[in-house]
């Protein structure tokens, strides 16, 4: 599903190596907990997996596709079609309704749009189904703007957006760091339930140790990195 081999990355050609991974392999359907303090290269890894940047060395294969073989536009398209991404905070576009926020990936990816349609009949229906499944009251679907939601609700809407159109890979960047224990648990329960129904692969980047035990496997950035990160 995700294969990294001998990947080395620096932001500038003369800058320090911020990521140096000998090997990382994630199987389909696996739920990985990736732990590491800030500055350990987590963000860079996310950008590499999302195809925003390419490594100077090594290869990254996702779903048997070589990221390096694609153009920047193709990588954007690939990301839209096969990956759902959940941020730490501010996951919602403030001027769009919840349904429009959830439907966003279907605007940019034909694949996700078609898959959402074949599942629910229409993109809108797919978005509403997901929002309902994630416990958002139907009265808020069309009207509510992000500012009217609690942080917990916002993160659940973000899950709906990541899941719409059934992408193969979900990547999250500390999605629970702004939530309290109870909300974090609820968030994870809902996420796992929907993932299981879709057999999607999850890469959960976090330093929230409380949640680690519930994942299939647990990695730390320190284990992944071939040598310690040289401070800039």
């Amino acid at each position: 599903m995700i294969e990294l081999e001998d990947v080395q990355f620096r932001w500038h050609p003369s800058g320090p190596v911020v990521l140096d991974i000998a090997r990382l392999s994630v199987e389909a359907g696996e739920r990985i907990f990736l732990q590491g303090p800030s500055g350990s290269g987590k963000t860079t890894l996310l950008n590499l997996l999302g195809g925003i940047v390419l490594p100077q060395r090594g290869r990254i294969g996702i779903l048997d596709r070589e990221l390096a073989a694609m153009s920047a536009g193709e990588r954007d398209h690939f990301r839209a079609g096969y990956m759902g991404i959940i941020f730490q905070v501010f996951n919602l576009v403030p001027y769009l309704s919840l349904v429009d926020n959830v439907s966003l990936p279907c605007l940019f990816s034909h694949r996700r749009r078609e898959r959402a349609r074949s599942r629910a009949g229409s993109v809108r229906q797919a978005a509403e189904d997901l929002l309902a499944a994630l416990g958002i009251p139907p009265s808020q679907f069309s009207g509510a703007m992000a500012s009217e939601l609690s942080t917990g609700q916002q993160q659940r809407v973000a899950v709906a957006r990541a899941l719409i159109g059934d992408p193969e890979i979900i990547i999250t960047d500390e999605p629970t760091s702004a939530l309290d224990q109870e909300n974090a648990e609820t968030f994870l329960n809902l996420l796992f339930r929907e993932l299981a129904a879709r057999k999607a692969t999850l890469l959960f980047v976090s330093h929230d140790q409380r949640l680690a035990s519930r994942f299939d496997s647990r990695l730390t950035m320190a284990e992944l990195q071939r040598k310690p990160v040289s401070a800039p």
């Binding site: 950008n47 940047v53 954007d76 990301r79 941020f87 905070v89 501010f90 990936p105 605007l107 940019f108």
Partner: protein, 423 residues
């Protein structure tokens, strides 16, 4: 759904969320557009009105002075002639075989600040303005008696005169009637229809009427002794000895240069013949600085509105940084991010242009007649000229630039941010 349409829809939703600011920006831009094009329309209207003051006249002839001076007093009835052209010179040119008609003009008197023009009946049949339009009588008819006067439309309207009223004409151009010819009043025989030219501001009497006014005056003051009653004057042969200037119409326009040269080189009397079109151009070129200043001010207004828009877009960028990260995460390409922000600016500019044009043309349609009657300027309410289209294209281009600037800034930030949302 088409990708472009969807991006446009997204940018519309984004604009709608900031509609308060957006509406203000659109209003400011629309004002700039309306002002810029309005100044241009007025300028063209003024220029046309100016060029339309006289038409069909091939030469304006007067005593030798400057061509602008001659144009000013003979056509615009502003300022004074320094000397006159003799009656014999006038008759000589009037009888020239190439000359179709002449209109003598005897200037120098006024009625309550409005110039009094001594002339002949040919004035009403041959004087043309605009695109060859003839003078028309609103009421009454041309002068037939020595003491008849024909009023321009503005004179009649401003002083509330009607056909049959008796008025007193004074000597000199001043407003104050210290030496009014009050013993021999003139009777209004006709009122001309509005032309939007200096004719509207003039009172017209026969050359004999001018003579009758001045017959007992020498050196600008009344001579004691003989009193001339109107009855006695009517019986006299009132032959003018000079005219201030005269307009000449030729049978064939090809003769104009020859005749002009002949008149200007005439050794018998120092005369000056000018072609009114050429002189009007010279006079208009004096206005270039004013034109330029007006255009500059209007341009600055439009630019400052565009700067306001740029400020709004840049100010919103911090907040949109997160939004752009979200768009990138769901697969938006860099060009789509740039399009999203640029299309907002361009959309604002286009809406402002439509609004500005609507305001401008609405105002023009409403004010056209009023302006034509009050100032003799008729701004063309129809269509857009090349220059106006260039202005619009320029505004759109600057608007596009004002949109590209923040979107490239946003794009550069989005590259640095990648798939993270910086707080």
């Amino acid at each position: 759904m088409n990708t472009m349409l969807m991006l446009v829809r997204l940018s519309l939703q984004s604009l709608w969320s900031r509609r308060g600011t957006a509406i203000l920006i659109v209003l400011a831009l629309a004002m700039g557009v309306a002002l810029l094009l309005g100044v241009e329309k007025l300028r063209q209207g003024a220029r046309n009105g100016f060029a339309n003051t006289i038409s069909g006249t091939d030469l304006v002839v007067g005593a030798r002075s400057g061509s602008l001076n001659l144009l000013l007093y003979a056509v615009f009835r502003v300022g004074n002639a320094t000397s006159n052209a003799s009656w014999s010179a006038y008759r000589r040119i009037a009888e020239h075989p190439d000359v179709a008609w002449t209109i003598p003009l005897s200037l120098g008197d006024n009625h309550r600040g409005y110039p009094v023009v001594g002339t002949s009946e040919d004035y009403f049949s041959h004087l043309r303005y605009g695109r060859g339009r003839q003078l028309e009588f609103a009421t009454g008819k041309a002068f037939s008696d020595v003491f008849d006067v024909v009023l321009g439309a503005e004179v009649a309207a401003a002083l509330a005169y009607r056909v049959g009223d008796e008025i007193v004409v004074s000597h000199g151009l001043g407003e104050i009637d210290t030496n009014a010819h009050d013993d021999r009043p003139f009777r209004v025989s006709g009122i001309l229809a509005r032309t939007g030219t200096p004719v509207d501001r003039s009172l017209h009497v026969s050359l004999a009427g001018i003579e009758a006014m001045h017959i007992d005056w020498r050196q600008g003051t009344r001579q004691p002794g003989i009193r001339f009653t109107p009855e006695r004057l009517r019986g006299m042969k009132l032959q003018p000895r000079a005219v201030t200037a005269f307009l000449v119409g030729l049978k064939s326009r090809f003769a104009v240069f020859t005749l002009q040269r002949d008149i200007n080189n005439d050794r018998r009397e120092p005369l000056l013949a000018i072609m009114p079109g050429v002189a009007l151009q010279q006079l208009w070129s004096l206005m270039r600085n004013v034109e330029w200043a007006l255009t500059a001010i209007a341009t600055l207004v439009a630019l400052s509105a565009l700067l306001g828009m740029l400020a709004m877009l840049l100010a919103g960028l911090g907040e949109r940084r997160r939004e752009i990260a979200i768009f990138r995460s769901v697969g938006a390409r860099p060009w789509q991010v740039i399009f999203l922000i640029t299309s907002e600016a361009v959309g604002l500019v286009i809406v402002a242009m439509v609004l500005g044009l609507a305001v401008l043309f609405g105002a023009l349609v409403l004010a056209e007649n009023w302006m034509a009657e009050t100032y003799g300027v008729r701004p063309a309410a129809s269509g857009l000229g090349t220059l106006e289209l260039l202005y619009l294209a320029g505004i759109l281009l600057v608007g596009l630039f004002a949109g590209l600037l923040p979107s490239f800034a946003a794009y550069r930030r989005s590259v640095a941010d990648g798939l993270t949302i910086r707080l």
